[in-house]
Amino acid sequence: MGGGGFTMEPENPALDDYVLSLARRPVPKICLLPTASGDGEAQIRQFHATFGARACDAMHISLFRLGSRPIPLRETLLGQDIVYVGGGSMLGLLAVWRALGLDKILRECWEAGVVLAGLSAGAMCWFEWGVTKSMGAPATSPGLGFLKGSLTVHMDGEPARLPVYRAAVADGSIPPGYAADDGVGLLFRGEQLAEVVSSRPNRQALRIGAQEERLEPRLLTGSDRFGDEADIAEFRAVRSLRGR
C-alpha cells in the first residue's frame, strides 16, 4: 500500500478488508509487526481496534519488548495467514529485522504462502529498493528484495519522494519499479503484479522505468468487504465460548 489502511484512514476499512480477503482461511490469523514505528502504541491500538472488529484472529509482535515477553518468533509468524507491517522508518525497520533474523523468517513465511502486507515502509520493505525519509530528506534505501524492482509510496501525500525516485531510476542507481498514491494497493502473486486496487476514487499508481505507464486501480467497493455482520457476530460468539 502506498499509504492507507487502519493507520491512515481508520474510517475507511476497504484496504484492510481487501488484505483479509487474500488469506487462505475464512477466519484468518493476522499479525501486525509495528517495528517501523518503534512498536508505537497508537499504531498497535488502532490495529486491534480495526481488526478486533473483524472476523479474524489478530495479534501483534513488539520486537522491542521481546526481552520481557519472549515468544518463538519463527513458529508464531509461520503460523499466520497474514503478516501486516506498519509504517514508520524504513531504515529502522530493516535494521531491527536484520539484527533479529526476521529477514530470513519472513522469507520462509512468504515461501510458505503467508500473505505479506504493509503500508509505506511496510510496503517498500518487500522490494529491492524504496525511498526513505528516515534520515530527513528522501533518499533511496535497500529493502529485503523478495520482489524485484523498487517502490515509492505516498506519491500524492508526500510529493518530495517522487523526484528523488525518478532520478535514481533514471541514473540506474536503483532498478525500475512502481510509485503508489495513498490508498492504492499493489497485489503481487509470487513476483508478478496481479492487481492494483484503491480505497478512494481518483488515485493512481505508476510503473516507472525507461517509460512511465499509468496503472488505473480498481476502486474497492462494498462488495469487497470482508465477511458480513452475521459472520462477525458468529465469530465473536464462538470466540467467547472458547473463553478468549
Binding site: 517495528t35 517501523a36 514505528s37 518503534g38 512498536d39 508505537g40 502504541e41 513488539s62 520486537l63 522491542f64 519488548r65 521481546l66 526481552g67 519472549p70 514508520g88 522508518s89 531504515l91 529502522g92 530493516l94 535494521a95 531491527v96 536484520r98 539484527a99 533479529l100 528516515s134 534520515m135 530527513g136 530528506a137
Partner: protein, 228 residues
C-alpha cells in the same frame, strides 16, 4: 532513572563541568517508547539540566544535525531495551560514528541495561533461554553483563561465554554503576547499598569473579555510639 532514587542521576550530572549540563537521551533500544521519553524528562527536568532527546523512529532532522547536537552535549544517556535492535538501528543511521566522535570530544556517555552493554566490546543478549553473544560498539575493550544478580540465567551464560573466548569484563547488578575513564575502570558507585559489581575473567580452566570495591552514594545509617 530509578523510581524515588535520584542517586545515580545526581552522580552522572555531578560529573559534568557545566552548572546546568546539557543531557541528551537516546530511547532507541525501547523503540522510542513515549513513556520512557516522558520518564527521562521527569528525572532530568529543566530545573537541573538542559535536557533533549533523539527519536530515530520519529525523526525529522538530518544526520549532520544529529552529530552537531551530540557534540554540544555534556552527557549522552542511553535507555534500556533491546541491545540487538539498539545496535542495528544505530549502525543503520550512522549513530555509532556520531557517538564515537562525541566520546573522543569528551562527552560523557552513560546508560542503563542495553544502554550500558552497548559501549563494550561484547556481551550477551537477554533473550531468556537463548543468550547469544554480540559485538558492541567497542569503545571499551571489555565485555559487560547487567542485571547480574537479578536474573538468574545471566551469570551461568556469561561464565560460559567467557570460557568460549569472550574477553573478560565487568558485571553489575541493578543499582551498581561502573564508571570508566578512557578504557579503565575508575570507580564503582551504588544507588542501593546491597548492589554489587564484579570483574569477571577466565583463570586457567575456571571463571573467577572479583567483587569490586564500591561506594554507596546515599547516606549510611548513623552508627550508634556506645555509651561512654
Amino acid at each position: 532513572m530509578e523510581p524515588n532514587n535520584p542517586l545515580l542521576d545526581q552522580y552522572v550530572l555531578g560529573l559534568c563541568r557545566r552548572k546546568k549540563p546539557r543531557v541528551c537521551f537516546f530511547p532507541s533500544a525501547s523503540g522510542d517508547a513515549d513513556h520512557y521519553v516522558v520518564r527521562f524528562y521527569r528525572h532530568f527536568s529543566s530545573d537541573i539540566c538542559d535536557p533533549s532527546h533523539i527519536s530515530l523512529f520519529r525523526r525529522d532532522c538530518g544526520p549532520g544535525k544529529v552529530r552537531e547536537h551530540l557534540l554540544k552535549q555534556d552527557l549522552i544517556y542511553v535507555g534500556g531495551g533491546s541491545i540487538l535492535s539498539l545496535l542495528g538501528v544505530w549502525r543503520a543511521h550512522g549513530i555509532d560514528e556520531d557517538l564515537r566522535a562525541a566520546w573522543q570530544a569528551g562527552v560523557i556517555l552513560v546508560g542503563v541495561s542495553a544502554g550500558s552493554l552497548c559501549w563494550f566490546h561484547s556481551g550477551l543478549t537477554a533473550y531468556h533461554h537463548d543468550a547469544k553473544p554480540y559485538q558492541g560498539l567497542g569503545f571499551l575493550s571489555h565485555s559487560n553483563a547487567v542485571h547480574y544478580e537479578e536474573e538468574s540465567d545471566r551469570r551461568p551464560a556469561y561464565h560460559q561465554a567467557l570460557r568460549d573466548g569472550m574477553p573478560g569484563g565487568y558485571a553489575a547488578s541493578d543499582g551498581a554503576a561502573l564508571h570508566f575513564i578512557g578504557d579503565d575502570l575508575h570507580r564503582v558507585v551504588l544507588s542501593r547499598p546491597n548492589a554489587r559489581a564484579y570483574r569477571v575473567e577466565v583463570a586457567g580452566e575456571d571463571v573467577v569473579e572479583h567483587p569490586l570495591e564500591a561506594t554507596y552514594l546515599g547516606e549510611r545509617p548513623k552508627l550508634e555510639l556506645a555509651a561512654a
